[in-house]
Amino acid sequence: MNPILLKLGEAVEFGKVDMNSPYPPQMKGQDGADELAGQALKNGVPASDVLTEALVPAMDRVGQKFSENKIFVPQMLMSAKAMSAAMKHLKPFFQSGDVKTKGTFIVGTVKGDLHDIGKNLVAMMVEGGGWNIVDLGVDVNEDQFSQAVSENPGAVVGLSALLTTTMANMEVIVNKIKETHPGTKILVGGAPLNDDFRIRIGADFYSPDPRGAVEYLKELVA
């Protein structure tokens, strides 16, 4: 494999955002994901290879380590940041159609809730899995979700909640989407949730970690 892609994969896996970022200490002064992605494209590596050979497998390893409790939220967010730095270089190729995405994933933290770290992690992991992300932000109500599905036909929707008091709003949102856009797949996640709750509110999938969401989406388009 191209040594730049190998290095880029490592930078994303260990959360090396750019040359100036202090984390991880053992990579101090080295190029980060930002520089490496730029170099790869300049050297003529196709954008789709940068995505599928470096970013996707790196985020997969991150997801794996997270589900095995080997790394924790800060490392994962550092990796997400590194990936996002690399993605900036790829964005033009997405828009020109040189890189094909697997589909569109609409994500948001539900009404009444402002917690977005979990939602952002999932968005980054899914983006790393080759999906186009529409991030609606936090405190998103049922009409905003429904509107976003209208604008992105066939999109998959992800709902996030951290508070037990806002979990209840998920049901309202699921009902609305299923009513206005039957057949839309809806994923739910967040610390207080479980699969029983997912079944009760009529959503399609629940995962305790971001990796499960990526796997589910992979199967959906397989």
Partner: protein, 498 residues
């Protein structure tokens, strides 16, 4: 295990504890504060031996001499009990204001009760309003805990049908404490002042909690609430019972009382108050303006969410130190360790960081799933992560509030640390974890500032809270655009060395 009996005057309390127990542990549970943190410097924890003996060592005698205390006096923070004793607790004789000057009160008439209604713990003190002396103390645990340790679980329970029950159990519990406080007394209580966070305020009063349960977490019903004993189904005679007003969002009258007790609202210099209770409140500012926030950091410090976590009571590891090559733990009550309380957790993390056992992201570098602290008590990788979330919540709250005030950490003159386990907290170790990054010399440990301020409220009219409420604004931390970046940075350790 051999036990000895301790009798406390003027409370009339009798208890039995393990022989060799330190008095700091025993008295801590009765609301006695240790302002200098147990170094024997301040003399505020003095006790008079009415019967029995507490042996003196060299350091202890020289401290007593320096403080000018005669022969029958001891410092509780330096004392261990080896035999049955009867003690008079000096602190109940003079009410001390938190910022180290004596509280100069206008003597009132009759008797009052100050109640700190915490999410986890309850404390009530009966005061003689003509002398400001504490006549009796009752402590307890909030019976709402069975619906969950944190505020959001209580709100959820209230939203899903248990609201009346939550109101009933807390009124009943406090009513019981009041009964015990006045039992056998020949007078009636003239006034009861209760403080607590906004959720406690709403649940006690029976107010609508729906608007407190969702963003932006603002209820219209934040004012002072008045009751008569009859309305609350209490067996005492008293028509002047009030739950003091909330500040904003979850930040309630317990913090209002804390601000009052520290005097920070009267001074020009910038002070910070951090209450390490369940709700983890932070207040910062001066006589021009105060900003406050709550951080939901507390449950980790009160034992919830930590696999071997517990409150600062008998059996809890309260301090952890590196001695030679080993980790050494001190256990409250001098018994085998059963778990670890907040101060022990902070110490343990600091010691593990100094030993090089933890990486910058909190990972256990040996690759083991847990670190053993004592026989039966370990910290798991998950526990360490819970600690990181809690310390990052506090650190982020401080970063955002100080930034909003336009103040740098170096410009903060005083940092007051309040909270149930505050007596045991080791400030250097807390700074080591990165939870707060102020110079250790700026800290003051104050213990329960909510109770202190509430007792002071008993000596003035209800309008005493007006100037503080006018100055103080609530900040919604998570609405800040870069909240996540600051939070993530604070989750890591060794920020300054990177």
């Amino acid at each position: 295990m051999q036990t000895v009996r301790i009798k406390l005057h003027p409370l009339g309390k009798e208890l039995s504890v393990a022989r060799g127990s330190s008095l700091i542990d025993v008295l801590h549970e009765f609301g006695v504060e240790f302002p200098c943190g147990g170094k024997g410097d301040c003399g505020k924890c003095k006790v008079k031996i009415l019967h029995g003996e507490i042996p003196l060592d060299k350091i202890h005698s020289s401290r007593l001499q320096e403080l000018g205390l005669p022969g029958e006096w001891r410092l509780a923070c330096m004392s261990h009990v080896d035999g049955d004793i009867v003690l008079e607790v000096g602190q109940y004789e003079a009410m001390i204001q938190a910022d180290e000057s004596l509280f100069s009160f206008e003597p009132g008439e009759g008797y009052g009760v100050a109640v700190d209604l915490g999410t986890t713990t309850l404390v009530a003190q009966l005061m003689d309003l003509s002398t400001a002396k504490v006549l009796a103390v009752e402590t307890g645990l909030n019976p709402q805990r069975r619906w969950g340790s944190d505020l959001v679980s209580r709100l959820e329970a209230a939203l899903t049908g248990s609201k009346e029950e939550l109101t009933r159990v807390i009124r009943e519990e406090i009513g019981g404490m009041l009964n015990r406080l006045v039992a056998g007394k020949e007078f009636s209580v003239n006034r009861v002042v209760i403080v607590g966070n906004s959720v406690m305020h709403h649940l006690f009063s029976g107010s609508d909690i729906r608007l407190l349960s969702f963003f932006p977490f603002e209820s219209p019903d934040m004012g002072i609430k008045h009751f008569s004993a009859g309305e609350l189904d209490w067996n005492i005679v008293c028509n002047n019972i009030s739950f003091y007003p909330c500040i904003g969002s979850f930040v309630g009258s317990d913090i209002l009382a804390g601000i009052h007790a520290t005097g920070m609202w009267r001074r020009k210099e910038i002070s910070v108050l951090v209450d390490l209770g369940t709700n983890g409140e932070i207040v910062a500012g001066n006589s021009d303006r105060l900003l406050c926030a709550s951080t939901a950091a507390g449950p980790a410090f009160e034992g919830a969410r930590i696999s071997r976590g517990m409150l600062a009571t008998t059996g809890a590891i309260s301090t952890v130190e590196q001695v030679g090559a080993d980790i050494s733990c001190r256990v409250i009550g001098n018994v085998p360790a059963e778990g670890i309380c907040g101060s022990g957790l902070i110490d343990a993390i600091a010691v593990l960081l100094d030993r090089g056992d933890l990486g910058d992201f909190g990972e256990i570098l040996s690759g083991d799933p847990e670190v053993i602290l004592a026989r039966n008590v370990s910290l798991t990788a998950r526990d360490i992560q819970e600690f990181q979330l809690a310390k990052a919540a506090i650190a982020t709250g401080l970063d955002i509030i100080l930034r909003k005030l336009g103040v740098h950490a170096e410009e903060v003159a005083r940092v007051y640390i309040a909270g149930a386990f505050g007596n045991y907290i080791n400030l250097e170790k807390m700074v080591r974890t990165g939870m707060m990054e102020f110079a250790p010399g700026h800290f003051r440990k104050l213990g329960n500032t909510a109770l202190m301020g509430t007792k002071m409220f008993l000596f003035s009219g209800e309008d005493a809270t007006d100037p503080i409420l006018d100055l103080t604004r609530h900040v919604s931390l998570e609405s800040e655009e870069d909240f996540q970046d600051i939070f993530v940075e604070n989750l890591t350790f060794n920020r300054s060395s990177s």
